[in-house]
Assembly symmetry: D2
Homo-oligomer: 358 residues x 4
């Protein structure tokens, strides 16, 4: 009898259920059903408090197309890992104890960067942990792709599509804020897919003068409208030169709710054009996973399950250069994968005439 | 030879092209092509300045699925109709003169309430005008339905759907701002379709205490999440009792960008729950029209064209109790169709347990 | 304590779960939870064999967007109602007995024409029955609308949309078979929404010569492609004049799998054009319900539940002229609602230049 | 002044316009508009007959989301390349002459395998040719990905999704025929994404006994329904052992319209279960390209344009291991990329319990 635990941690995404389904189906098929799966509720919180639900294949019968996670999720900040909970539970010892008490052979952890750090900590404590790269942001170090990413790009692109028909009809400048606080993968990809004129991402600090120039050039060519895609974490060159603390203070002091509103106001002021802002927000992490996401999620789930069946632990599932592989947890924990400002996709976008405002 | 003019006025919507296609196809088919169509650019502005493009069936070959308007649109406020343009053109006389100069037999005007008032003014000046009820807001008096409405409800509902998967996973309160400044048709319908717990619309002023009660009740029943749909123009009972001027001043003085943010903050403060705001914004008037919208748009276009071919003018196309009909322009111009707070759909929503915060 | 039964019967559709959710939510809200719901499995089969599952609001938490039915469904032909099952159960007495045994106050039956006849029979046997008009076909007599219809039209229209891009690129004739054996509501509405050139429906028998003429005319006008929407039950004038038995024999003797293939072959032979056939089939009754469908489904569910709470039974929920109402089961049982060949929508389609091949 | 020709050849797909847009935008941006683009109509037919349209960036303003090709397309079989047209034109000399007459610097050819062979022939004749890997089938040798593929997988997956709700409700076996005559990329990927139980592809000949066993096993586990995805070119082990000629004869002699119908009949006969067939057909190559497809299409277009600007010709744009590159036309012309039956994706599908009927 194989006994495994499973949890989903951090921000949710569209393909969490599809990934868990693949893990459970693969384990069930290859153990001929000699399997017990403990699904911890609300991320690491469930492991800390031993709150779980037993899971079988049937629980996933209809979930391939369902976004979110049937286990619930929560954020459990790594830096507070050694602080006790509000009611005095020591987190790490509790998690280890509960894992032992349930006699688990393995813990599958579906999470992003921060969650992977915690997973690595549990590995160091002697638990058999396998991590799976979940995040819409595609910023997990050690893998070319994360599940959630293509679906988020699809939703974000659909938003730009929807807005374009209005932009065309009214002849305006549209500023669309796309998710990405520290990295700009979704804005970059959705911006290209949606035909943006300007894309502003954290990795390439912008200069508002350059942004205005780019907009004027678009309209100078006779185009009625222009579309600016702004990452949540887009920053000016000046802001990028601030200390982390000073930048945080500046963001906190914002009167406008986000950078997109600031940029919109500035462009309106400088170009005398009508500018509108759209903030699709959390819709970007919801809805059904697209086909590509489900395929990759399934690949991740199978790879993780096969590792467990082979008795291999302590790794994160990864895809590199189109091939599935496994990377040591200790190598990836806590590292972010940024966009290379001189990399292929940015170069292609520039070749097409897209401005990054730099 | 039949010579007709056409223009799209006010905020755009998904089914403008589909409607124009139906007008032109019907006219072309029934005149055996003895037809000249002048499409005025950017709404009444094109008629004022005689800027137009000649249109044929071919121009609409691919537009059935395209949101926006191939003619462009603009807002030409009725109350400024007798003021000259910035470069000194007298608007009404210019429109009449251009209509005469092109020897038009009829002007098709696709627009909402304000635009219909201007159309009625042109009718009073002796022009043959036929209006078609365009607006995502469904607030045009004299018709049960407007084109654009079902598509907007579809987009708004999809946003709520997308957000629900995250709401479920994280267990939060979500406040979603849906279009509707003066009327709440889209929020009401999308709220029902999307399974909202609370719907706040301009026609039913709310009491924040009642909203908080409703949310607490939802969570008290063991539900992890709750969804509040807020119309852009939702207002408290207190705000509703203000004079129009005082209310406008209060809105203008808002620190938060909109009422949704205000409500979210208040709920967070009072319930100690995590609250998130989503503002899908202009996506609600974009993208492809849904099938129902295209059918209704086609019906409107056919009805308008048939009226013209019969030599009947001065009406707005309308649907009442499921039947297409024509209503005198003078009867509908400038009136808004509000939701009846005691009407069928609100009663049904209440029967289902949805709170209106009153 | 209110005790109600519920079953879904006949072909499934997108909004069955949405409708059941509205019934259960309304009953639960208005009885303050003093409610027991018995969901019979697989349609009348579950009632015959007393196979059921207990349902609560929680079972419907996520189903608003889920097509199909969580209860399962089956066809139980009315004409075999007085024949015993293969294992000797007398159907009607068994259903009555199980209803009595569970001490039900009411049975909610979500089904189409045939299922409504059986519901009426149970009413005659003294049960409290409330029927809800489920069918993608929109052919239920006594109501202007059925739930399932708008979603099916949406899917069918999307198929035509998808095919148009290929038709445009290759310059072909496309024959698309749309669901509708006895009535043509989906083909008529999807044909208009999708911009079909020719629509063939059971209610308007066609003449292949006229179809070929229409196609030639489209291409004669310089158009590269043409689209023919064919109902599953489209028939020639000759076929329409056959006796029911002779027509059935002719259909059974078909070599091609359906009428669409026959028509395609004939057009290819007569016009020397490339013709392609598409048969989207059961996709038309699947996937998520669209927003309109969910709203109407919710209205139906609320109306049915309110009837039950008021102690009113023996009716079918209906929408007429845009208003919800209740019609006696005996008045609607077993009657089909056909398209009026001289009615509004057909006249509009003809005004637009669409050919019905007659 | 740069003068380039462009044509789209073979079956259409969703991302042709998006690819052409990227080529033209990149060339225009990098030549500062010193550019003339000749778009040949209907594939090589336009080059043979010198029928073209002049293209500018504006022609592509709205095409990013439009499937099909604004140039039209046609099939020009390679093996008939040295036969004259029906009206006596020698194809290859005519194409070379027209290229010379227009003083073209380069010809961009968007096409699949057969079309690439013709492109290579033109290269051999001394023309500057750049090919771009267009096909929904993903079977182009020399590249890991083709544009059109992910969109087709998306549509095919959506069909499976739509059918699942009905399959679940009724408890049936569903056979869904997915595009792929010679290769099974779309069926394999859509089958995984859609949660198929059995996937039958040309590369893995099946044994009907094994298929029936797999279906029985699914239902034996208590599942109500099962889904079989069948490639158009799925073949039995016996058929796979036939000579090409004998196999073609067998296919031509089919009474049923396709292999899916044959398999469905056989399963119905052997399992006594209700079986339904769906044939989404050409919908799979239509509609809007998904975001991934648009991104890859854009990358291909940029890479092709940059090659031209660098004076590099005679290559096909390709993506290998996640990186864009260029492969010599002579190396790829006329070769098909088959699925490796022992490759990663098939192994993953097997690990999950999916049967290939072998």
């Amino acid at each position: 009898m194989l006994r495994v635990g499973m949890l989903t941690s951090g921000g949710d995404c569209q393909a969490l259920n599809a990934t868990m389904r693949a893990i459970v189906k693969t384990l069930a098929y290859n153990t001929e059903g000699k399997l017990e799966v403990y699904g911890f509720l609300d991320g690491y919180q469930g492991l800390i408090r031993n709150r779980y639900t037993r899971l079988t294949q049937e629980d996933f019968a209809a979930t391939l197309t369902h976004g979110g996670t049937i286990l619930g999720t929560s954020r459990t900040p790594f830096k507070e890992l050694d602080e006790p909970t509000s009611d005095g539970i020591q987190k790490v010892p509790a998690m280890v104890a509960n894992y032992r008490k349930l006699k688990l052979d393995c813990l599958f952890m579906l999470g992003g960067n921060g969650s992977t750090k915690t997973a690595n900590r549990l590995r160091e404590e002697g638990l058999n942990v396998i991590a799976l790269p979940k995040t819409i942001d595609n910023d997990t170090w050690g893998t070319d792709m994360t599940f959630g990413f293509t679906s988020a790009v699809e939703v974000a692109t659909r938003c730009i599509d929807d807005i374009r028909t209005t932009a065309t009809s009214h002849g305006r400048v549209f500023v669309i804020e796309i998710m990405g606080h520290k990295v700009g993968w979704i804005p970059l990809y959705a911006g290209i897919a949606g035909g943006a004129d300007v894309i502003l991402i954290p990795e390439i600090p912008y200069d508002i003068d350059k942004v205005v120039d780019a907009i004027n050039e678009v309209h100078g060519d006779g185009e009625r409208y222009s579309i600016i895609v702004v990452a949540e974490g887009a920053r000016t060159k000046e802001e990028a030169s601030l200390s982390k603390k000073a930048y945080k203070a500046k963001v906190a002091a914002r009167v406008k709710p986000s950078v997109a509103y600031e940029i919109a106001e500035e462009i309106a002021r400088r170009t005398d054009r009508e500018v509108r802002v759209a903030v699709p927000g959390h819709t970007q992490r919801g809805g059904a996973p697209d086909a590509q996401d489900r395929i990759f999620a399934t690949q991740c789930g199978v790879e993780a399950a096969m590792g467990c069946l082979e008795g291999k632990f302590g790794f994160m599932v990864s895809q590199k250069k189109g091939k599935m592989c496994r990377v040591p947890l200790e190598d990836v924990a806590g590292k972010l994968k940024y966009i290379d400002p001189d990399g292929e996709v940015v170069r292609e976008a520039r070749a097409l005439g897209i401005s990054f405002g730099d």
